[in-house]
């Protein structure tokens, strides 16, 4: 085949399915204990992250000497999807577990690893990702925020924008300009850094969602000084370091389950005896979801096998985010003729409104639809 898109049939191994039983039991107990209230509970919840840490489920794939369990990526996959389905409040540890921890593992000094990684696994510290800037969103390589090497450390000046949860984060993995781009390579000159958000010279301003929610921030660096060893990896070469990170970031269940509570509430709202219109609509949604899950697990299997399925991950993210974005509108149509209340009408209406409200951002964050289709087109040989 000249077009190399590959999705092998992969099934999760028995140890992952055994862990699923354990995770479901844990979530049930935590809901019963009032740690969180189930789907729709969107409050920050450090207590929950601490308990997940106690179970050993943050950084589960990492080496034991850094607090990990040395278990497989497919086991992490199961924890992630069960947490998403239950609406578990993971925001304190989610980013650190998915991508910041792995960056530290790869590039940080031994001292930093010993210091920070175990605290991540205990659910004690949270990370944000400092990529976008006022003049650099999808075009990441236009980033201007500067890191200058001085005798005392790296001096940071500039602004990051759309930084999710920066106001609740202890650390950032930031992308800063250490040299100008070269004629041959406009991606050259950016470096990755660890940032301690409590350092002097760093301030965070909220940028609210249209509904008033506080997720995004503007982070300003005014002569903030980072220790020399906060440079992650090679200076000027960040563009080379992000490849495998992207495959992890783009192929997970969070790329199609973000609005799934709408589907689950819809199923219960429609009830046991759907009419043919409702049934056909539900059936299509479930078939689409099942297919996305199969594709996502296929990518997880490839990552587990040490491959870098960047193209396949982009396919999953584009299909997945477009699907989860449309889901609330499809559910709204399917529910239009229901005049009974099986007991969850209010809840359905609440999650539906929430889903419709957040839908626009799903195809923007973490790589826009346009960027992803460009990557897929390149994979097809068109660019």
């Amino acid at each position: 085949m000249s077009v190399a898109i590959q999705f092998d049939p992969i099934r999760l191994p028995p140890e992952a399915e055994a862990l699923r039983v354990e995770v479901r039991q844990f979530l049930k107990e935590e809901i019963a204990a009032g740690t969180f209230s189930g789907r729709g509970d969107r409050r920050p919840n450090p207590e929950f992250s601490r308990k997940v840490g106690e179970k050993g489920w943050i950084g589960i794939t990492w080496p034991k000497k850094y607090g990990g369990q040395e278990r497989s990526f497919l086991e992490r996959y199961v924890i992630n999807e069960e947490f998403l389905i239950a609406g578990a409040p993971t925001r304190k540890h989610f980013t650190a577990d998915r991508q910041s921890g792995p960056v530290l593992m790869k590039y940080a000094s031994e001292e930093i690893k010993q210091d920070i990684l175990p605290r991540i696994t205990r659910g004690e510290v949270s990370f944000c990702i400092g990529m976008s800037e006022p003049d650099s969103g999808s075009d990441l390589f236009a980033a201007k925020t500067k890191a200058e090497r001085t005798d005392d450390g790296w001096l940071i000046n500039g602004r990051k924008l759309w930084t999710s949860l920066a106001h609740e984060s202890d650390y950032m993995i930031g992308l800063f300009r250490t040299s100008p781009p070269t004629q041959e390579n406009r991606r050259h000159g950016l470096s990755q850094f660890l940032v301690d958000m409590k350092l002097p010279g760093i301030s965070t301003q909220p940028v609210l969602h249209p509904n008033g929610n506080h997720e995004f921030n503007e982070v300003t660096f005014d002569n903030a000084l980072l220790p020399h060893d906060y440079l992650m990896g090679e200076v000027d070469m960040a563009w080379k370091q992000a490849t495998s990170e992207l495959a992890y970031e783009r192929s997970g269940s969070e790329r199609f389950l973000e609005t799934c509570e709408v589907l689950f509430e819809l199923v219960d709202f429609i009830g046991e005896n759907p009419d043919v219109r409702e049934a056909e609509g539900l059936g299509r949604l479930v078939a689409q979801l099942h297919t996305l899950r199969r594709m996502s697990i296929s990518v997880a299997g490839m990552l587990h096998a040490g491959k870098e399925p960047v193209l396949e991950a982009s396919v999953v993210k584009d299909l997945g985010t477009v699907w989860e974005q449309a889901l609330p509108s499809v559910a709204r149509d399917l529910a239009a003729f229901i005049d009974r209340d099986p007991g969850n009408r209010l809840r359905f209406e609440e999650v539906l409104a929430h889903g419709i409200t957040i839908a626009p951002k799903l195809t923007i964050q973490g790589g826009t639809t346009e960027v992803l289709r460009g990557i897929v087109a390149r994979g097809l040989g068109l660019r």
């Binding site: 509430e265 046991e272 005896n273 609509g281 199969r294 097809l380």
Partner: protein, 353 residues
């Protein structure tokens, strides 16, 4: 967990045969049926038409996974042959322990709602709609309740009828027909199992065809120059083809997963098997519609001609969606089951499939 070595060998053998004797360009240019006999004979000689029948019953015994690998290749070439039909008919006869009669076959029923039964006097009652290639084959494998029957097509009432690709799709009247042979079907095999097997097979053929539509569309976009550059350099075209690539990827992913499920299944009536195969027929059917549309858009006017091969793929993609029930019918049945299981049951079903 992809194709094992045996399946790869079978797929390679099928690819060689189709490349040599089933090239869509050659067939399209010939405009007659002269290609059909040599291609079918080569497939038969290689044992690819009877992959799903053990050698004791006259088959090649290549196994379920190998049969699906052949169907994917057949889809890649938009093969206008009763290959899936013969494979499924062979599988059904095997479920009754009936020896293969030899040659091409088809299978009935193909639509939910059609039912055929065996009378006390040994004749059949009932009919089946839109049986693919029925008029072209000598034998039909028929599931009549819990009986497998081998029937001579010539003994049945057979209507005229063609699908959008011009292939025979006949309504068959079985009333009063005495089968050549009957046998009780193996426990656990029923009309739904047959329908699932058919849906899985068509899903794989469609996935193969979509893969080729993608390949030829990308190739065309690289070669065709307009406004001073290859049209594949325009971002609008790139994004359309990326969408086509994603639909093809979804189809290949779920069809391959379904083949894996069928290869390893123990119980045709399990909820997970239904979820898997119904999802494939629904999602691949959707991809077929979307993919055909994007493919045509990429080729512009030349793609909308008889001389171009695109129609061989598109017309079959459209038609295959309807065989063994279309995506709307499968979705309505799946949706009823989802309603009955409730939200918690749904997630358990998805993760257990």
């Amino acid at each position: 967990m992809g194709m094992d070595e045996a399946q790869t060998l079978v797929a390679d053998a099928a690819s060689r045969i189709f490349r040599d004797l089933g090239d869509p360009q050659t067939i399209n240019a010939a405009g007659d049926d002269s290609w059909r006999e040599p291609l079918w004979s080569a497939l038969e000689e290689a044992g690819l038409t009877t992959a799903w029948v053990t050698d004791e019953l006259g088959g090649a015994g290549a196994g379920i996974g190998s049969g699906f690998a052949v169907l994917r290749v057949a889809g890649e070439y938009a093969a206008s042959l009763p290959l899936a039909e013969t494979l499924i008919a062979g599988w059904l006869l095997e479920m009754g322990g009936i020896m293969l009669p030899g040659g091409a076959m088809s299978v009935a029923p193909m639509k939910s709602g059609d039912s055929i039964s065996l009378n006390a006097d040994g004749t059949l009652s009932g009919s089946a709609r839109a049986v693919s290639f029925a008029a072209d084959v000598d034998h039909l494998a028929v599931l009549a309740g819990d009986t497998v029957a081998l029937v001579a097509t010539a003994d049945c009432g057979c209507s005229e009828g063609r699908n959008m690709a011009g292939e025979a799709r006949n309504n068959i009247d079985f009333s009063g027909v005495t089968p050549l042979q009957t046998a009780p079907v193996r426990p656990g095999i029923d009309a739904q199992a047959l329908s699932l097997m058919g849906a899985a097979a068509r899903s794989m053929q469609m996935a193969g065809a979509l893969q080729t539509v993608l390949e030829i569309a990308v190739q065309y976009a690289e070669e065709r120059v307009a406004f001073g550059r290859p049209i594949g350099k325009f971002q609008a075209v790139q994004h359309n083809l990326a969408r086509l690539g994603e639909e093809a990827a979804a189809a290949i992913a779920i069809a391959s997963s379904t083949a894996y499920t069928v290869e390893h299944l123990e119980d045709w009536s399990s909820a997970g098997v239904f979820l898997e195969i119904a999802s494939a027929k629904i999602r691949v059917g959707e991809a077929a519609g979307e993919g055909a549309a994007i493919g045509h858009q990429a080729f512009g006017a030349i793609g909308f001609t008889k001389e171009h091969i695109l129609h061989r793929f598109v017309q079959r993609l459209w038609s295959w969606r309807d065989d063994f029930d279309n995506e709307a019918v499968w979705a309505a049945e799946l949706g009823c089951r989802v309603g009955a299981m409730g939200s918690e049951g749904l997630w358990h079903a998805l993760t257990a499939a």
